[in-house]
Point group: C2
Chain length 320, copies 2
């Protein structure tokens, strides 16, 4: 998917006329990302990212996303800064859809997920949590327990076509997580999708955090659980405790975890694994004919979910 919308030259020129970013030299679709159409825009003034928000994004949420990026960039976090037009507004329309330009960040996606990079991303995540304090807008997490149940309802009937017994296993997990889910942990704005695709590095230094289009209010430690799933499993799906220890230590350098957050990590990791299992399962069962991006294998997250379920406690994540 990604790049659903084609933009004409004249249309782009008259869109850019509302900004002071110079004239377009090149517009190139970016294949990454499945929610929106993203383009690398090179102008006489510099490089930018142009995003057209496709139908999976609720336009009501855009002030939250753009406002959050601005809030974080203003506090020194290396994230894109929404570019305002001449009238001061960042959110506009292009090709009949909501659209925005954000600044381009230098750096490359990580190659190998090394211990050093995991430590750096852990610290960057905690810095984001701290820097987001004071951001005035709120957005409930649409992909929390209620949202998972809704996704499951849409997938249940055909889930066993992907793996025998999958429907029953997910139903039991939803039931268990509904019981065990922690309620009184520190909450705030979370990124909710900080996968390696969304972090740029210069060697082991984080130079960019991008894609805030799942950001929402939820438990801070849940964001860390998402990162444990995203950064601490090797290509053969084996848990990499060295990376996990580094990620957690990096996080705690900027924001020490409370004892209750540490205790809750296995349950939060199960929830995070289930969340990606369900969205991937949904995409797998609802493949769009002719889309560029192949859906990701949902079963990778079933393996992670089982890993977290069998743990005796949070020490297994390498916590000292």
């Amino acid at each position: 998917m990604a790049v659903y919308t084609q933009i004409g030259e004249a249309e782009l020129a008259s869109f850019l006329d509302q900004y002071e970013v110079g004239e377009a030299l090149e517009l190139e679709g970016i294949r990454q990302g499945v929610e929106n159409s993203n383009y690398r825009l090179r102008t006489t003034l510099g490089c930018f990212i142009l995003t057209i928000y496709e139908k999976r994004v609720d336009p009501k949420d855009l002030p939250f996303f753009l406002g959050l990026m601005e809030h974080l960039a203003r506090r020194g976090l290396p994230c894109p800064l929404p570019v305002a037009g001449r009238d001061g507004r960042a959110l506009r329309r292009l090709a009949g859809k909501p659209a925005a330009i954000v600044t381009f960040l230098a750096g490359t996606s990580p190659g190998r997920l090394t211990r050093e990079r995991c430590a750096a991303v852990g610290e960057a995540l905690a810095s984001m949590h701290l820097a987001a304090a004071g951001f005035p807008l709120q957005r409930p997490n649409a992909l929390a327990l209620v949202g998972w149940r809704r996704l499951f309802d849409d997938c249940r009937a055909r889930a066993d076509s992907v793996a025998p017994g999958l429907a029953e296993e997910i139903a039991a997990e939803l039931e268990a997580l509904g019981q065990a889910w922690p309620r009184d942990l520190p909450a705030g704005v979370i990124h909710a999708d900080l996968f390696p695709d969304n972090v740029f590095f210069d060697n082991a230094r984080v130079t960019g955090l991008i894609d805030f289009y799942f950001a929402c209010n939820d438990l801070l430690a849940y964001d860390l659980a998402i990162c444990l799933n995203a950064w601490c499993f090797d290509a053969d799906h084996a848990f990499n405790v060295t990376n996990a220890r580094a990620l957690l230590a990096g996080y705690c350098r900027a924001r020490p975890l409370a004892a209750a957050e540490i205790r809750a990590l296995p349950v939060l990791c199960r929830g995070s694994a289930l969340r990606f299992l369900l969205t991937r399962l949904f995409d797998w069962l609802h493949q769009v004919e002719g889309a560029l991006v192949k859906p990701k294998d949902p079963l990778e997250y079933l393996r992670r979910l089982r890993f977290h379920r069998q743990l005796r406690g949070p020490e297994a994540y390498g916590l000292d």
Copy 2:
């Protein structure tokens, strides 16, 4: 000069506690710049520039400078973004003086001032002029005619010690410019100090405009005249018409000049040459014992001033 203030480790740590920029790893004084103390600050989160405003900057002007950088960065101009503390404010105090952190821009100062770089800086200057439209604060140019006369009063008695006849030549020039100075040209926020030191490049692409601490409201074409003096003379002080043609063409690509602005260019270039002649003369005659930065030769700008004075018209700048 530059780096007048020494900062202790504990003092820096408690200053950074007011931000979400991570913990200090390294603080290094930057020799460039003569107005403020600048430091390259590396933290666990990334790289920043820390500036302590020394006594040559009027604290009343700081909201203009910081607000302008934020306004321009928000509109996509590659300039530093002031970093807000937890309380949302960017302007704070350190070591008993006003201080701020801004984001670090990648890129290097230009080596050779090529035609391509002059074209790029011309366009970036025009983009800055356009992007600054709508910035609500005002700051009169303290280094316009009245300021020049005041500087001259401070230097007049000893000017001839630098070059015989200099006092008389400056007095005549001030008189002539007082008569000929244009009044009805397009005005707005100008950078007023866009020398090669203050522009970063990646090859011929501008990646950063810095040092907005002379920015003010004045004639837009006067800013271009400053750039003609700063970018279009070779090391042997010969005028480089190839660079000038490129600079003007680059500027006009983003903001076409009015006929009256073109006609005024020689007078504006004389004024700009006189402005740098006078501030350099002042610094030359008021050298600070033990300062790191050696004052620049004021007579370079006397040569430029004479060059502009003998021109028959603006065509000499390579305008087509």
